[in-house]
């Protein structure tokens, strides 16, 4: 039950990802302003106060990334990004795609053909020897 609720909330966040990122940015801005105001109240001039607030805050990019990881499926998202990058780079080199496809097709085709040829030969000789065996047995016993 708790698990279902969690998944649902994750999906909701995923569906409005960009809005969610903007909201996080606004939240961070609000935090910085409040902190700077606090420094000003303590007697700093406004430039110094804003700088102190930013220094205290640390890296917004890092925070954004961590918040993003916290609210999504970081593993699935990175796999999806990798797949899309792969497809994009394939589109940029159609010659390579053609060569790769042709060699794969030839390789698999030839492999399958050789296998079925040998397989057919083998089973034919196997059934021949199976038929021949009792006969030769009979012959030898008759002899």
């Amino acid at each position: 039950m708790a698990w279902a609720g969690e998944t649902w909330r994750r999906l909701c966040l995923l569906a409005r990802r960009s809005q969610h990122d903007e909201e996080l940015d606004e939240e961070m801005r609000f935090h910085l302003e409040m902190r700077a105001e606090e420094h000003r109240a303590a007697g700093m001039d406004s430039g110094e106060a804003a700088y102190a607030a930013r220094r205290r805050f640390g890296s917004p990019t890092l925070l954004r990334e961590e918040a993003r990881d916290a609210s999504g499926w970081p593993f699935a998202e990175s796999v999806w990004r990798d797949v899309r990058l792969g497809l994009r780079s394939l589109r940029h080199s159609p010659g390579f795609v053609a060569v790769a496809l042709v060699s794969l097709a030839l390789g698999i085709g030839v492999n399958a053909a050789v296998f079925s040829f040998i397989n057919a030969g083998n089973s034919a000789s196997a059934s021949r020897s199976a038929r021949a065996h009792p006969a030769s047995f009979g012959r030898s016993s008759a002899a």
Binding site: R10, F30, H31, R56, L63, S71
Partner: protein, 114 residues
């Protein structure tokens, strides 16, 4: 009021959820800045809440369903995202506090002089 950094202590790992939940239970709905401020002031400026861990923790708590987030206007007519404790969050708070008590008692027994 703004203390030297050296006199501040990082929040012990694993207790941030408990501190946030307690704050919301005591003070009612608050924005992230208010939560950080409350923890710092109530601990006489000993505990220092890192923004870099506060906001990701809040996100995780929203997803776990312990708190809900909504946008409101502050007294200064600024937009702020305010977090509110849910019933599940209240239950979680009880759990975390009893777990924490158990750990502290155990640690005290270990470090006490024989």
């Amino acid at each position: 009021m703004v203390r030297d950094d050296r006199s501040r202590t990082e929040i012990p790992p694993g207790t941030l959820y408990m501190l946030i939940l307690t704050t919301l239970a005591r003070r009612g709905p608050l924005h992230g800045y208010g939560i950080a401020k409350h923890i710092e002031e109530t601990s006489d400026d000993v505990l220092r809440v890192e923004e870099g861990s506060l906001y990701p923790a809040l996100q995780r708590m929203v997803i776990k369903g312990w708190v809900t987030a909504e946008w409101t206007r502050t007294a200064g007519n600024r937009r702020a995202r305010v977090y509110r404790l849910t019933a599940a969050g209240r239950k979680q708070l009880g759990l975390e506090v009893s777990e924490f008590d158990r750990a502290v008692q155990a640690i005290t027994r270990v470090i006490q002089p024989a």
